[in-house]
């Protein structure tokens, strides 16, 4: 019913709207727009397609160029469609340009950071939501305060710390500084506050310890926020640039983001390989976007609160 009404509603063109706004016009009188609607709809599609071309063109041309032989990329007028796609550039990018290793490294680092942030944030969030202990308020504010400290303000001493620990150019250097998340603690605390206290009392009577209650009851009730924060943390960790640039040196630990830059400088005579490598580097997140669209949106909107 509602959908029907919306279907007839004119959306573009002031004149049609004003006419429609006159009360005597019956809502379901489809005929009254019979002439205007196809034209308006076409215009809307033209606009939609034009914007889609603008937004998607860089990605499209990246795919096309990855499939063209190197020599043809420089040809003018440019080839905008690969008639004889060549997939070899992907293999070269994966093996010889080390994208395979970079992807492995990024996966190790990102999964570790995400898992660690989930664990530390869930535990702390639980404590702040369910348990009473001295300094609870102060410590929560301390956690929130970390949201205001950007990586850039701490990078110099952190670099020295990493050197002191002997972690330069190792995975711990990329992972350990990010095992805590103020945003995660905040989000989980807020979510856990919504869990009925009766559940806690009942679980305690059943002899559940805190950890068991957390894992068996609280977490299953809070899957959406867990997924949203997990995706957000994953995306953030995957996209890190400055810190990995500073603390890594060799291919064996270099992440995709830094590796892509390496690729763009070193393989410049093989431009199809650069494009293929870029696709390989972006692919995991594209897949993630399609599989976890809903959680991603929620994670990003939650992340927007952080900045």
């Amino acid at each position: 019913m509602r959908a029907d009404r919306r279907g007839v509603r004119p959306r573009a063109g002031g004149r049609a709207d004003r006419r429609a706004a006159r009360p005597p016009e019956p809502r379901r009188a489809k005929g009254s727009f019979g002439l205007r609607r196809p034209a308006g709809r076409a215009a809307r599609y033209v606009l939609l397609v034009a914007m889609a071309v603008v937004v998607a063109f860089p990605i499209y041309i990246t795919v096309v160029n990855a499939l063209l032989p190197s020599a043809q990329i420089g040809a003018r007028p440019p080839t905008l469609f690969p008639t004889h796609p060549q997939w070899g550039s992907f293999r070269i990018a994966f093996d010889e340009a080390h994208l395979g290793i970079y992807l492995r490294n990024s996966t190790i680092v990102t999964v570790s950071i995400t898992a660690a942030q989930l664990v530390t944030s869930v535990l702390a969030g639980y404590a702040f939501a369910f348990l009473r202990f001295p300094l609870r308020g102060v410590l929560f504010m301390v956690c929130l305060a970390t949201l205001m400290v950007p990586v850039e303000a701490t990078i110099l001493p952190n670099y020295r710390t990493i050197e002191t620990f002997g972690w330069y150019d190792t995975f711990p250097a990329l992972i350990v500084p990010f095992v805590g998340s103020g945003l995660g603690i905040f989000l989980f605390r807020q979510a856990f506050l919504g869990v009925p206290r009766d559940l806690h009392d009942a679980a305690t009577l059943d002899g559940y310890g805190h950890l068991r209650f957390l894992v068996r009851v609280v977490l299953p009730l809070n899957r959406p926020v867990t997924a949203a924060f997990g995706i957000y943390a994953f995306l953030n960790a995957w996209n890190q640039y400055l810190w990995p640039l500073v603390v890594t040196q060799t291919n064996s630990v270099r992440t995709v983001q830094i590796g892509l830059r390496q690729l763009s400088i070193s393989n410049f005579n093989q431009i199809d390989v650069v494009f293929a490598g870029t696709i390989l580097g972006a692919l995991p997140i594209f897949v993630l976007l399609f599989v976890f669209q809903k959680q991603l949106v929620r994670g990003l909107t939650a992340g927007a609160l952080k900045g």
């Binding site: 939609l48 937004v55 003018r76 205001m148 110099l156 805590g180 990003l300």
Partner: protein
Amino acid sequence: MGARRRARGAHARRHPRSRTRRQVVAAYLFVLPALVAFGVFVFYPLVKTAYLGFFTTPPAPNLPSHYVGLSQYRSVLSSSDFRDSLWRTVQFVLYTVPAGIVLGIGLAVLANQRLAGIRIFRTIYSSTVATSAAVASVIFFTLLNPQVGLLSYWLGRKGGSGVLQSSSLALPAVSVVTIWQNIGLTFILMSAALQSVPDDLLEAARVDGASSWRRFRSVTIPLLSPMIFFATIVGIIGGFQSFGQIHILTQGGPNNHTLLLIYDIYKQAFQYDNTGYAAVLSVALFAILLLLTFVQFWFFQRRVFYAR
């Protein structure tokens, strides 16, 4: 001990002292991992950065650094180099944030129609959320290459000096790349906000004879304003932290024309080993971002109260 427990047993439920103590121990164990990480990698280095700003870096590596107190802060923050990089950063923010938000709203409105196949367009518009700064920059770095770049060819710059090598066009070019890379995120944020605009309100405005532009301006935009504000602050903060695109596209060049504050910190700290100078810049950046975050928190709090 058994006697003590038995003696207390009757009151155990009203005075669960041992349970309370166990709870406190559990609580501290639960918050400890995060707090240790914050202590070592957030708070200690933050203080240390400010402290490093009190020392000038010696001209040769093995000489002792000199304590100069606040004078280094004064000299760096009043230098024209700092003012220039700050101004360029502000320019970069002005180029990227308003344009990005207007585009994001436009796309969100466009994709909020009930048309066949609209989901395809939504997916395309949000697709650049999957491209990191590095991915976007490598794509455009290659497309803008003066010899083989397609965009250079279309811009009529084949062979000659590239856009990224031009002192007047480099910063705008970096801005365009940044806008493109952020479009997906802005679109997703604006779409989420747009979908929460109640249909009844738009319907009421329509019945009152408001044109579609008028409905957009007087109903939709005010209801979007919380998200617009968010996206603005997040965009400004992101602008001050934009590093990857500079590092890949221009390295701060040509002639420092894209040398943003954050890139200057990186150069001073890790290319010139000018630790004291970089520390002062870091503190300045922190202060700016802190101010912006406070504005955001203040607003967030207000919004939470509105929602209740």
